[in-house]
Amino acid sequence: MANIMIRSSDKGYVFYLPKRDLEASIESIEFDTPEKWGGELKLDNGGSYYIEPQVKPARLPISLRARRLGAVED
């Protein structure tokens, strides 16, 4: 599990992993509705993370716990 931060930009959601100073844009998010938000995140650098589906946060950025799915980024 890793602490991550998701913020929104003009190009969509941006993923940030403070521990490794890794910034990447989120290419797809599994659930993106006001009631259910989260699931699998696919990043533009090839990585994927999983966050528990939840109610869409009222304000971004938000810090969350995420699980790494695909081993990427060397």
Binding site: P18, D21, L22, E23, R59, P61
Partner: protein, 490 residues
């Protein structure tokens, strides 16, 4: 048009890599690239923020340098204790020329070196008692300090001192913030982690100190983040923001105070100059206080105008008009500067190798003078920095990450730039080789370079360096014929 074509640049990289053993060659190859503007992400062509290879000459610093030297040091009314042996603090003192207003030793302390001066017995028995005593002494001798930060040097982490406990006890005793910073030099691969650790300690110990306290806000409050007032940079930036109608509440951290930092959560917008060293705290303030942040660039009139308009777009029409007014006011003066220096500098080639921001930020200023940046590189940037660099640099230019002494020498010999901008560690090598050189970390004891006023100084300095006749007279000592040396000796 770059100095070399893509194929030539690629061949140059291969040639430079030839001298390394296979394993080192494979590793270093990942840190060198030829720019391709089509790329969206730097991920596939350059690797950054990795451990330097043992045996090569790296130009990097340590985590302590990032925390004490960059982020915490310039806060003028706080005392930063270099906790550990005396050398780290003493030899780094005053190097960055963070200007400030105040009486040193009375109410401001940046130029002084406070250290616990570790001796053998402190390593054996621990330095906590000494630290507690030191804080009391500081309080007695310098009562106008507003707070203390404890900057750990390597031994503190190695022997496992509990500086947090000392800090908490001392803070209660003297009733001021005492911030323990775990920035031991061995942490991380470069000074970059020091910035991160320093930002985290600001987040944990400073930023929420005044939450809930009354603060007289205006709708035009901003904070300047990541400007260390080198040679007066932050002042040259601040006057532009104030002229366009904004109120600058805080400067982080050049000529900044603890009170300013504590008041920053009240601003409307955080203006981030050095992205690499302060994006962490900006992200935190965005999440906790909902303050948006914006990267801006105050090098060169083109980028300044772009940045002023971008900043104004976050505010109402009054500020937007203010931005236009400021741009209009300074444009004639800037045109004069360009008219004077551009003919002398036009078409000249520049190579840069600086820290974590300037390799891309100063490109615009050089282009305003008709110069071309043919190679650039960072000591300690991360991938997001390279993502931003690719867009700013010309096609087929050379980009190098954590370049070694050998690589820099060879690149310069092959590309023969008209000007090199880098740090003090590279300066004298290139001087001896007869290349015009500017020290771009602390502006070669000049400055400011930010803002409109700074651009005039920048243009003049580049001209003075580049067109100085002395460079043609220099012959590198190692290229002199051996006979001469014998005769001289005799």
């Amino acid at each position: 048009m770059a100095a070399l074509t893509r194929e030539e640049t690629e061949a140059l990289i291969q040639e430079v890599l030839e001298v390394y053993p296979d394993k080192a060659k494979k590793d270093r190859a990942k840190h060198l690239m030829v720019n391709d503007k089509e790329l969206e992400s730097s991920k596939k062509c350059i690797t950054s923020n990795r451990k330097s290879l043992p045996g090569v000459m790296t130009m990097r610093g340590c985590a302590y340098a990032g925390s004490k030297g960059v982020v915490w040091g310039p806060i003028k009314d706080m005392i930063s204790i270099s906790h550990g042996p005396i050398g780290c603090g003493q030899y780094a003192r005053g190097g960055r020329r963070n200007y400030y207003v105040g009486t040193t030793g009375v109410d401001t302390f940046c130029e002084m070196n406070f250290t616990s001066d570790f001796q053998e017995k402190d390593i054996v028995f621990g330095g906590d008692k000494k630290l507690a005593k030191l804080i009391n002494e500081i309080e007695l001798l310098f009562p106008l300090n507003k707070g203390i930060s404890i900057q750990s040097e390597c031994p503190v982490g190695l022997i496992g001192d509990d500086i947090e406990a000392v800090a908490k006890k001392a803070a209660a005793q003297i009733n001021k913030p005492v911030v323990p910073v775990r920035c031991e030099g061995f942490r991380g691969v470069s000074q970059s982690l020091g910035h991160h650790i320093a930002n985290d300690s600001v987040r944990d110990w400073i930023i929420s100190n005044r939450d809930g306290q009354a603060f007289e806000k205006t709708p035009y409050d901003v904070a300047i983040l990541g400007d260390y007032n080198i040679g007066g940079d932050a002042w040259a930036s601040r006057i532009l923001l104030e002229e366009m109608g904004l109120r600058v509440v805080a400067q982080w951290s050049g000529d900044g105070t603890l009170a300013e930092m504590e008041n920053t959560p009240n601003v409307k917008l955080n203006l981030l100059h050095c992205y690499r060293s302060m994006n962490y705290i900006s992200r935190h303030m965005e999440e906790k206080y909902g303050i948006p942040w914006l990267e801006y660039n105050f090098f060169g009139p083109t980028k300044i105008a772009e940045s002023l308009r971008k900043i104004a777009s976050y505010f109402d029409d009054r500020i937007k008009e203010g931005a236009e007014r400021v741009i209009e006011k300074y444009t004639p003066a800037m045109n004069e500067v360009i008219a004077k220096f551009k003919p002398r500098l036009k078409g000249k080639k520049v190579m840069l190798y600086v820290g974590g921001l300037r390799p891309r930020h100063v490109v615009g200023a050089y282009e305003d003078l008709g110069m071309e940046v043919v190679g650039t590189g960072y000591e300690f940037a991360h991938n997001d920095d390279y993502d931003r660099t690719i867009k700013d640099m010309g096609e087929a230019t050379l980009i190098y990450d954590d370049a070694t002494g050998h690589e820099l020498d060879e690149f310069v010999k092959a590309m023969k730039p008209d000007l090199i901008g880098s740090g003090i560690k590279e300066k004298y090598v290139f001087h001896k080789m007869g290349f015009p050189f500017r020290q771009m970390h602390s502006w070669d004891y000049s400055g400011p370079y930010h803002g409109y006023d700074g651009f005039a100084v920048f243009a003049k300095d580049m001209d003075l360096t580049l067109n100085n006749p002395c460079w043609k007279l220099i012959q590198a000592p190692w290229t002199k014929p051996a006979v001469e040396a014998v005769q001289e000796a005799a």
